[in-house]
Subunit: 192 residues, 2 copies
């Protein structure tokens, strides 16, 4: 499926755009291809864009002072990713974004998004919906992190996104769950 078609499909689930409106909307996106392991946003960068995933898998993550990595989000096709804090507040990136696999994305600049939101009411509606969704998902994850142990969180994650199991190495899953890879590895070790 074409990138344009994937995006259209995605957007049309939420809001109605005429074909001309969608063409106009789409004309602001730039298609980009990245190789596995390639960085899209690095700590300290100026952040101008958000990214709609067409194919492949991205991760957004934070590296702390001890070089420990925490994954904020995996991004599969039809997911959006960026350092949203830096993007919205015009600050330098504190979050990294890179490619777990080869990936194709559609890139939309912050300025263009705001322009489009302003020009086309349905586009503003779409982005409001998108953020609402991310917000409640993040709230749920926060509660789960406080309330559930690693094993439960791991199983919930795989239940929700089974495709991750095949694509994402376990050390990255651990970095998403907020535990060490050793602990994750021991979850299903035969009891001694």
């Amino acid at each position: 499926m074409e990138a344009k078609e994937i995006l259209k499909n995605h957007v049309s689930k939420i809001t109605q755009l005429t074909d001309e409106q969608f063409d106009y909307f789409f004309s602001h996106f730039k298609k980009q291809s990245f190789k596995k392991g390639q960085a899209i946003i690095s700590d300290g960068d100026r952040v101008d864009c958000e990214y709609f995933v067409i194919s492949g898998c991205l991760k957004s993550f934070f590296i702390n002072d001890d070089l420990k990595m925490y994954i904020l989000q995996f991004a599969m096709p039809t997911w959006w990713a960026s350092d949203f804090n830096a993007l919205y507040n015009h600050t330098k990136a504190t979050i990294n974004l890179d490619c777990i696999t080869d990936a194709e994305v559609l890139c939309l600049s912050n300025d263009d998004r705001e322009k489009l939101c302003n020009e086309l009411h349905p586009v503003e509606h779409f982005f409001r919906w998108r953020t609402n969704r991310g917000y409640v998902a993040t709230q749920k994850r926060l509660l789960s992190l406080m309330n559930n142990n690693v094993k439960y969180r791991y199983e919930e994650l795989l239940k929700m996104y089974p495709e991750l199991y095949n694509i994402v190495p376990k050390n990255l899953i651990a970095a998403y769950l907020g535990v060490s890879r050793e602990t994750l590895s021991r979850l299903y070790a035969p009891e001694k």
Copy 2:
């Protein structure tokens, strides 16, 4: 200050509404008063409204099977609160909302919000902005929960919202930080 003025002040920081537009917007809000300890949303309720705090302090929280409480959010004046997951997805409440102190709120129904967003583009813009802000704040809190110890998180919280120190008992602060009240209490205990 009047409730209307507080809301107008808050909204006008983000978006421009004419006086007539704001009056129309405001006409959909219902003022409600609650006593300290009173529940606004309880687990299992149908959730129809979100709440804009005029005065007082609310908390939204989750109670797990062991009756342990985790606080999702404190809501001070000009903050919005609800069970947003239930509100947006028309499901029963899994989050409770109640009053830490006597409180006055402005109540807006989900239907009215959607209607207003549809009728007035600037209102849709406002609510997109609001959720964006909540989204990045929640992402930050998630990372902090994974990356920082209790003491650091406690001090960050008080740095960000010093007013909480006087209003909110420590057992609730602990429930927000995701630790036991005993651990929080011991943070500044004289070393043995």
